[in-house]
């Protein structure tokens, strides 16, 4: 008759307090913290709350106990004990000889373990890049050794260069805190913030040991990520740095990018690897050739499809049919080939290449052919990064610039001062915000709004989806209308051109146009604008100029009128149900308890949302009325003067 075992309470059977965990792992608290940071272990919240203690899952602790780094920690401890002893005995010679025995460890197994796939690593890269970009700027001190900051600089630089090369920058936002960047790598959105370029003064209440531990991990991650990224675009890793430029602060230009093909003159030690690499490279080159061929065929196909849509001329229909026939054959051949190959990797690569191409078309063409010159007072790194990743060329005032201020090729000069002594007629003078806004909207915004003397239009966050939030600021309205206007006018032009080209049967030019159209469509899709919306916008935009004229003659509106006007422009209620709908009111009577709770919650949320929107609208109305009054006074003054 054995006694029945008493069940442990849930908290004890599932969780350990931090003290218990320390005892189990036989670590000190600082070591435990380090380990938690490196391994990504976090405390848990038991469902029944304990007595204000920090709980860790038992499974997590077991998982930690197998970590080889714990052994290294112990080695460190014993090593430092030996050193201490030697110092006490003043055996300095011995200490010197011991230095070579300092235990070292690597973190790649942890990186692999935390991020089993590359996508996982990319998904979690936000904090990593933020911290590394911060440390790249941080002055080295007793807490932050110089080699760490240098390493951070290098890693950050590599990462930025990859983005420039692949045109994967998506959004930029200048905030009070710093500049936000959003990039898209393998369809993962990564957002990070870099501080404005000032020296950071580390506050006293910051524990740099924690930050440095995180940094240690992040350095390891970013190194592997960079390697992977460089490998994916066939670049050699690690790249070499131009030390002069690096020390001058020219982060982006300091990197010397080499294709993997250019390896040949490298050290003999790496011969074996090289051979392998070369083999790989050859394979890749072959693949690329294959892909190119396939892309060509596809292009033809695209052209034919476009033709079908666009052209009504009968004569050409015949040609098209012939073309179609040909294309079909090509297509069939293509798919047959695919089937024959059954090589998924090539197919994947092909898809990737296609993607990359379209990306290049959309994002790399924005500043294509534009040449920017940055004045001294303008933040160089972010601007250079942004412009180059959208296909522009950059020069600047100071060392290392490819061209000087007097160069006639320059199309835009970015300036952040009100008065400019010497102006060139051939170029536009703009404030830096122009670049950021144009990038966010993916069109070249009118330059006049951003002239150096003018206060630029409001800078909106590109991360906010205004339609979902439910409030559209005035600037967004302007941008939307501007954008759709541009798109429609472009389309018209392209249609005209298309017709001409069809007559000339000049396929090459046609192709370019098609690409542009395709890019636009993609772009629209990316923005989530459906065709019907576009149509509406088009209608609006045809009236765009008329509206503007009206706007100039706009009489002064009363407060309620203004408010109504603004409210009408806001998106309609997006909430799941209309609370004043009679049916819902009726249904309220037969709701279950759960449903009622959910209903009340939904009501609360929507009312909160509505409140915040109302607050914004009220403020805006007040502000606009103020503006109106001012304008009114000005007008009167001018009129009286005229009289």
């Amino acid at each position: 008759m054995g006694r029945r075992k008493q069940k442990k309470p849930v908290i004890e059977s599932k969780y350990l307090t931090r003290g218990q965990a320390l005892r189990k792992l036989q670590l000190s608290l600082t070591e435990f913290r380090r380990l938690c940071i490196l391994k990504g272990i976090f405390p848990r919240q038991p469902k029944k709350k304990g007595s204000g203690k920090v709980y860790y899952s038992i499974k997590d602790i077991k998982f930690l106990s197998h970590e080889p780094i714990i052994k290294k920690f112990r080695e460190f401890n014993s090593f430092y004990k030996k050193i201490k002893k030697a110092i006490g005995k003043k055996e300095f010679q011995k200490i010197k000889s011991m230095e070579s025995n300092l235990p070292t460890y690597t973190l790649h197994h942890i990186v692999k373990e935390r991020y089993p796939t590359f996508i996982d690593a990319l998904r979690d890269l936000d904090d990593c890049i933020t911290l590394i970009s911060l440390f790249a700027i941080l002055p080295s001190s007793s807490m932050v050794p110089a080699n760490r900051t240098q390493n951070c600089q290098k890693l950050y630089c590599e990462f930025l260069n990859y983005i420039i090369k692949t045109h994967s920058l998506r959004k930029v936002f200048v905030s009070i805190k710093g500049i936000y960047f959003q990039v898209e790598i393998k369809s993962q959105l990564i957002t990070w913030i870099t501080p404005h370029q000032f020296t950071q003064h580390p506050p006293k209440n910051i524990d740099f040991r924690v930050m440095l531990t995180f940094l240690e991990l992040y350095e390891a991650i970013l190194k592997f990520v960079n390697h992977e990224l460089f490998y994916s675009i066939n670049l050699r890793y690690p790249p070499e740095f131009d030390q002069e430029k690096l020390s001058n602060g020219d982060l982006l230009g300091a990197l010397i990018l080499l294709n993997e093909n250019e390896n040949e003159n490298e050290n003999e030690n790496q011969n074996e690897n090289q051979i392998e690499n070369e083999n790989e490279n050859e394979n890749q080159i072959e693949n690329q050739k294959l892909m190119r061929e396939r892309i060509k065929t596809l292009e033809q196909k695209l052209i034919s499809v476009e033709k079908n849509e666009a052209i009504n001329v009968q004569n050409e229909e015949k040609n098209q049919k012939e073309n179609q026939g040909l294309d079909q054959e090509v297509e069939q051949n293509f798919f047959q080939k695919m089937e024959e190959d059954e090589d998924e990797s090539t197919r994947k690569q092909y898809k990737q290449a296609q993607k990359q191409r379209s990306r290049k078309v959309i994002y790399g063409n924005l500043f294509e052919g534009k040449i920017f010159y940055l004045n001294r007072e303008v933040p160089r790194l972010p601007l250079e990064f942004v412009i180059r990743s959208f296909g522009g060329k950059v020069g600047w005032q100071g060392e290392g610039s490819e061209f000087g201020e007097n160069d006639e090729k320059i199309t835009h000069q970015i300036v952040d001062r009100k008065r400019i002594d010497r102006r060139f007629i051939s170029r536009a003078y703009i404030q830096p915000q122009w670049a950021f806004d144009s990038v966010n909207e993916l069109i070249l915004l009118p330059v006049e709004d951003y002239a150096p003397e003018v206060k630029p239009p409001h800078h909106l966050s590109p991360f906010v989806k205004d339609h979902i939030v439910g409030y559209i600021p005035k600037r967004r309205e302007e941008l939307i209308s501007l954008k759709s206007f541009r798109n429609s006018s472009k389309k018209k032009k392209s249609n005209l051109k298309n017709q001409n080209q069809n007559q000339n049967q000049n396929q090459n030019q046609n192709q370019e146009e098609l690409e542009k159209n395709y890019a636009q469509e993609l772009e629209n899709e990316f923005k989530g604008i459906t065709y019907s919306q576009l149509e509406e916008q088009k209608k609006n935009k045809t009236n765009f100029q008329e509206v503007e004229i009206e706007g100039n003659e706009k009489s002064i509106l009363s407060k309620t009128q203004l408010e109504n006007q603004i409210r009408n422009k806001q998106p309609k209620k997006t909430s799941v149900f209309d609370q004043n709908d009679e049916k819902t009111q009726l249904a309220k009577a037969v709701m279950t308890r759960k449903q009622r709770i959910a209903f009340n919650k939904a009501q609360r949320i929507s009312s909160k949302k509505q409140n915040s929107i109302d607050r914004l609208i009220n403020k805006r109305v007040a502000f606009e009325i103020e503006n109106q009054d001012e304008e009114d006074i000005k007008k009167r003054k001018t009129k009286s003067k005229q009289k």
């Binding site: 997590d60 009070i176 009577a589």
Partner: protein
């Protein structure tokens, strides 16, 4: 290094084997030293001898082999043979030592450069050529003796005449001396092995980790990494590893140049600054506006924010929370198509206006042509349903709490609760003939039918009487009058007693009750008589005799009042202020109850009428039988505050709703059969489905309960949809409809179908919310007070605190 070590080791081990040589060497060195020392002494001795041969033998210092410095402090330097002190100055004289001499000697004496002073004796000594030579040799680091040959062949100290080797000692050599060390051999073997494996490099260098691809080429991946990957995936799939949430993306307000509506105003800035802790602030920054990018200052909290994020990443608990997306389908139950459930009242048709205070109660006549309403303005009005005209009005001195039309179409009379009275009213010629009523109410012929009893008339009469009386008043008369009054009072008392006793004998329940049936004429007479008493009391304040008498009378009266508290018709103030009104036109009978009657219900057949006065204690519920002019009190004990009662439409059952429960009594057996527990705080009203098996209960705490009496004593369904207290619920007699009216100004209509099949639950669907009523003023939140369905049509009448009655069709 290692090689060197080995070499050293080997040499050491060699030396172990040959100990004699080193010993020999050591002994030789010792001997050399001894020789040198002897030579030195000899030299010194010879030196001193040579000096002693000189002229001033006496003046030689005799301090011995001791530095001269020791005698610095003394004037002498040693002793001569006779034992006298040899004085220093004598010695100096004898040696002619003088600075001048010295200086002269420097120039004159060619040997001056090689003259040195003997520190021991203080004498001068000229170095010889040989001595000079040795000195030079020593200076140049050579052996002092020119003849010494350091590389001379070694000459053994001993001769070995036999040519044989003889040890110095006779000690036998230990075994260790010639057997090689086992442990050292092992050590060497170990080292050799490691050497062969090339584990030793020239200098241990740190391993440099070469860059490699962690994810792309899986084939090259070490095995342990593959395992790690498996483990990580396992952990991830089990939900043990929750990835950290991404940081929030910034909104417009974080822009350096935001739209003006995102900038905080002064009040918001102050509110933001008043909170010190950054964690508690609604935002961790204050939106600001800068004209240009160059104007943006450094953000001082950047590092802090990064640090906080780091802390969050490893110190915050994480849990997976399923974020339910609130969809319409999930929240809102699906209702059947309302078109199928028609007919039901949907919109307002007629508003009946006329009352000047809130309308407490309404009732419709069984033909559906007439509507009666009782109001707080102390009146009862009869309305024509289709035209909205007020047909008749009765005014009273008390609030009309309840009106009820007899449900039997053959006897269309109205019961009304006015203060403590239940009035039976004949609504009028057009509705009911006098004969019919007389037949119904056997005891009370409609006496005052044709008399016009206006309030003013009544008062005039009274006044006249009073005046007359005043004129005729004598002492005797007064006495007479008083006697008369006394008689009257005693009569009254007797009558009361009879009334009290009679029911005891007659009623089956043997319960005492205090309701009294009166004809309006009786009632008026009574009032007059009472008025008289008070007026007399007022008129004769001076007469002592009469005063006493009247006082007595009054006391008597008061005692009777006190004794039978319920029997007070009206308060004294009413008499005094003379505001008392009473119209008797059309009133058939008056039932005087003990407490204020708040609700009335007819039995379906129209003979029985139940009245409820919630504060009446044991007499809260009274059942009146109209045809017999009788009143019964069915309950001996009070079971709580009775809110409302109902008769079962078919069975002899009686429903009594107290504050918390509904009790069902069997009237035949006189027993309680069921107690329903709705679980609400305060029941406001109940109604019974015309089928009789279902019941709805409304409560002041916003709930409506549907009971299936056959099923359970607990509600089949509880619904909460009104935002304020529910005042009234009602079933429709013909259609499957019921409604509830509430203080939130709305009346909600439901489709409530009861199926004959016992297994099928009743179907309840909300079909319409009727708006229309408003609050009388902002403070008084009273909405719809009563609701009644039309007996034939699917129409609904509601009465509200806004003085109106509305018809919804």
């Amino acid at each position: 290094m290692i090689f060197e070590e080995i070499e050293n080791e080997s040499t050491e081990s060699d030396s172990d084997f040959l100990p004699t040589e080193s010993e020999e060497l050591e002994s030789e060195e010792e001997r050399n030293e001894e020789e040198e020392r002897e030579a030195f002494y000899e030299h010194f001795l010879s030196d001193s001898e040579s000096e002693s041969e000189g002229e001033n033998e006496e003046l030689r210092n005799t301090i011995g082999d001791v530095p001269v410095e020791w005698y610095k402090e003394y004037s002498h330097i040693g002793y001569n043979l006779t034992g006298e002190k040899i004085l220093k100055r004598d010695v100096i004289k004898a040696q002619k030592k003088d600075n001048l001499d010295d200086f002269l000697a420097k120039f004159e004496n060619p040997d001056y450069w090689r003259t040195i002073q003997n520190k021991l004796t203080g004498e001068d000594h000229v170095l010889t050529d040989e001595e000079l030579a040795t000195a030079f040799r020593i200076q140049s680091g050579k052996y002092p003796d020119a003849d010494y040959d350091p590389y001379a062949p070694h000459v053994d100290f001993f001769d070995y005449p036999d040519g044989k080797l003889h040890p110095l000692t006779n000690k036998p050599i230990s075994k260790r001396g010639f057997v090689p060390s086992k442990w050292e051999a092992k050590k060497i073997i170990k080292i050799v092995k490691r050497l062969r494996k090339q584990k030793y490099s020239k200098r241990r260098t740190r391993r440099v980790v070469r860059d490699f691809l962690l994810w792309s080429n899986q084939e090259k991946m070490p095995k342990k990494f593959a395992e790690k990957k498996k483990l990580a995936e396992k952990r991830k799939s089990k939900g043990e590893n929750i990835p950290a949430p991404k940081p929030h993306l910034p909104g417009h307000e974080e822009s350096y140049n935001p739209p003006p509506e995102y900038l905080p105003n002064q009040r918001e800035i102050e509110a933001w600054e008043s909170i010190e802790n950054y964690d508690e602030k609604p935002r961790n920054f204050l939106p600001q506006n800068f004209d240009r990018i160059i104007d943006i200052p450094a953000y001082s909290r950047f590092l802090n924010e990064r640090f906080d994020r780091c802390l969050d990443l490893y110190l915050c608990t994480r849990a997976k929370k399923r974020k339910q997306k609130l969809t319409k389908r999930k929240i809102i139950p699906k209702l059947p198509d309302l078109e199928d459930l028609k007919p039901f009242p949907t919109h307002e048709m007629i508003t009946y206006k006329g009352h000047i205070n809130k309308v407490r109660s309404i009732s419709v006549d069984p033909t559906g042509n007439w509507l009666v309403s009782g109001s707080d303005d102390k009146s009862i009005k009869i309305w024509e349903v289709f035209t909205g005209k007020c047909f008749k009005t009765w005014e009273f001195s008390e609030i009309v709490y309840s009106v009820a039309w007899n449900p039997n179409p053959e006897t269309p009379i109205i019961a009304a609760a006015v203060g403590k009275y239940v009035l039976i009213i004949n609504p009028g010629d057009s509705i009911l003939s006098v004969k019919q009523v007389n037949n119904l109410m056997k005891k009370f012929p409609l006496v005052i039918e044709h008399e016009n009893f206006d309030e003013n008339q009544l008062e005039d009469e009274n006044l006249n009487e009073n005046l007359n009386e005043n004129e005729n008043l004598n002492e005797n008369d007064i006495l007479d009058r008083n006697q008369k009054i006394k008689q009257k009072l005693s009569q009254l008392n007797q009558l009361d007693n009879q009334n009290q006793k009679n029911p005891k004998k007659s009623s089956t329940h043997k319960k005492r009750h205090n309701a009294i049936w009166k004809s309006p004429k009786e009632f008026l007479n009574e009032i007059r008589s009472k008025k008289l008493i008070f007026q007399q009391k007022k008129l004769n304040p001076n007469n002592s005799n009469t005063d006493q008498l009247i006082e007595k009378l009054q006391i008597e009266l008061e005692e009777t009042e006190a004794h039978d508290n319920h029997e007070l018709y009206y308060t004294k103030e009413d008499y005094e202020s003379q505001e008392f009104k009473f119209t008797t036109k059309g009133i058939v009978a008056i039932i005087k109850c003990t407490n204020i009657v708040k609700s009335l219900t007819w039995h379906n057949k129209g003979d029985y009428l139940a009245s409820v006065s919630p504060n009446g204690g044991r007499e809260a519920v009274l059942i009146h039988r109209v045809s017999k002019n009788m009143t019964q009190n069915p309950f001996g004990k009070s079971k709580g505050v009775v809110q409302c009662v109902k008769f079962h439409p078919k069975k002899p059952l009686f429903f009594v709703a107290t504050q918390r429960h509904v009790r069902i009594y069997n009237l035949l057996r006189g027993k309680m059969t069921l107690k329903l527990m709705p679980g609400v705080q305060w029941i406001s009203s109940i109604d019974i489905h015309p089928g009789g098996d279902n019941l709805i209960v409304s409560s002041y705490d916003k709930k409506l309960c549907w009971f299936d009496i056959d099923l359970s004593t607990k509600p089949y369904k509880i619904m909460r949809y009104h935002s304020l207290a529910i005042r009234k619920v009602a079933f429709h007699n013909r259609f499957p409809l019921f409604c509830s009216s509430s203080d939130d100004k709305t009346t909600q209509v439901f489709y409530g179908k009861v199926f004959n099949d016992l297994l099928q639950n009743p179907l309840i669907v909300p079909v319409k919310i009727l708006h229309g009523h408003e609050y009388p003023n902002e403070k008084l939140e009273l909405g719809v007070l009563d609701c009644v369905f039309h007996p034939i049509q699917p129409w609904l009448f509601t009465s509200g605190a806004d003085k109106t009655i509305r018809l919804f069709c």
